[in-house]
Amino acid sequence: MAADVDGDIDGMSRSARRLEEAVLFLRGRLAGEYEVDDFGLDTDLAERILFPALRPLADTWFRIEVQGAENLPVDGGALVMSNHSGTVPLDAVMTAFVVHDRTGRFLRPLGADLVFRLPFVGSLARKGGATVASGSDAVRMLTRGELVGVWPEGYQGLGKRFSQRYRVQRFGRDGHVSAAVRTGAPIVPCSVVGAEEIYPLVGDVAWLARLLGLPYVPITPLFPWFGVLGLVPLPSKWLIGFGEPIATDSYGAAAADDLDLVLELTEQVRDTIGRTLVDLRRQRGDALG
């Protein structure tokens, strides 16, 4: 883009300018001259470091194709509800990446509290825009007009066996749909194909998981047998589809406590995701293709 604007500048001055930018960025970081929002999102860090670092993984490794990005509202609060898989929540990271890539908006993932207990992971998640999955944070973010991401299958989806892949698990009753109704935010169903194959979970060391306080300790065809190498995700082909937004603003805030309505909306989203997954899998064909 920049090269188009001043196309006649020679390569030298362009790299000098990039260096200048990098120096300015570093100076800002070193001096602490940047801002984080109330939830800990560090826009500067995310846009300059985190997202660029994820780009090769998204574009080259997983070759992510995005469908229906136009279904993501350009502004205002919205709840993105997605299926969950892959043993580690890389699907959430990648979804946040493509959302920012396509819309410039930050997806604000609501994560399990375990994420925030883990050193490095927790603080990085906050800086990348995540917060703890709690009713109060969901409402707070939606009220502020944020694009909130939830993975309502939780560990049931994330840690399911490879043989169960693409079977959408039961949605947890954690009140996210109710938060959307309360704030009148539309719900965008999101279906991710590809994350199921990155770490095919074939076993679980339950006793070690209990010892470490983790939901499971995965055994995959490569982990732990190949050590660190086993941590490299398989390069499956990914498709991420955003469905048409489901409006909730006609119900009124009081309807947030209407259990029937909330369950009905939840099922509607779950159905949409399930159907879209079948569709996307057919489109993709071979997992590593």
């Binding site: 030298m12 000098a16 260096l19 120096v23 570093l26 100076r27 970081r29 070193l30 001096a31 602490g32 001259e33 940047y34 801002e35 984080v36 929002d37 109330d38 939830f39 800990g40 560090d42 509290d113 375990l114 925030f116 207990r117 883990l118 050193p119 490095f120 927790g122 603080s123 906050r126 800086k127 917060t131 703890v132 709690s134 109060s136 944070d137 707070r140």
Partner: protein, 342 residues
Amino acid sequence: MGRVVLVTGVSRGLGGTLARRLAGSPDVERVIGVDVVSPDEDLGDVLFRLAEQGDAVVSEIIETEGVDTIVHLAGGARWLGGGLASIDRSSVAGSLELLRACQQAPDVRRVVMASSTRVYGSTHRDPAMFTEDMVTRDRLGASSARDYVEVEEALRRFAGRRPDVDVTVLRLANLAGPTVETALTRHLQLPLVPTVLGFDPRLQFLHEEDALAALGQAALGDAEGTYNVSGHGAMMLSQALRRLGRPSVPLPGRALSRLGSASARMRRSGVCSEPIAFLSYGGCVDTTAMRLVFGFEPAFTTAQAFDDFARSVSPGALGAERVAAVEERIRSVVMAAGADGR
């Protein structure tokens, strides 16, 4: 007829300043200040009385002076000085004594207490922002924040028995500014600041001037209830340290707490006196009620309050000047490389 105000904890922290300012207000007839130690500074028009714990000085003052407003800064500097250091049990006992004295005093119309946002504790499960109703005792475990909660509860019981008295609790965020000294500000001024490896807590700051203004407004206004008081916005600890130019020493949580208790034994105040949970997770509060119900707007944001504090301390090893020098070095190297390339 002006108000007669009793301020507890005037000898340390912001207590003295608050008492002097209240004494200067046209709505106030006189201010009596009490503390368990003598003040270092001149309290001006404030009448100072030394009170030992367990004696009847406070209840005597309330009765004979006709006190109608009490501003309870609890453990003095320890409470108002930041709400981070543990309050000792004696200030809990002192608070209970004060409330007992108030209960029998028919003239008392208003009780204002400075509490701390530490009452919410810090865990990885916490929502990003605490609202005033989110205090749960069991979450705090054995931490010292329990003591704050205990005093707040005693005050609530008092309010139940004396419905004619307006009770206001201000939960102040971490204080920052050119003069105020708290456990956190002392910690941040160490040449090498210990942090918890792998964690970067979110912090909020309240400028000392805003704290004084909020307490003054609570003392002389007519609001009731419990309010979080903090500057807008949040900062990460890492960011705060960079603004101070202080290098950090990330240590595993367990090692840090050991270092903390060792230094406590050596009575080196400041060093690692921060609870590990706070240094791991921090915490922020919602200030909607402060703005809309209590009607207070802080003049300083979190970042501005912190920067005002940062200006008052000497820059650390990674101060702005050093950073500028390094930048200059990089630039000259780049320029040289550029010239070669051409």
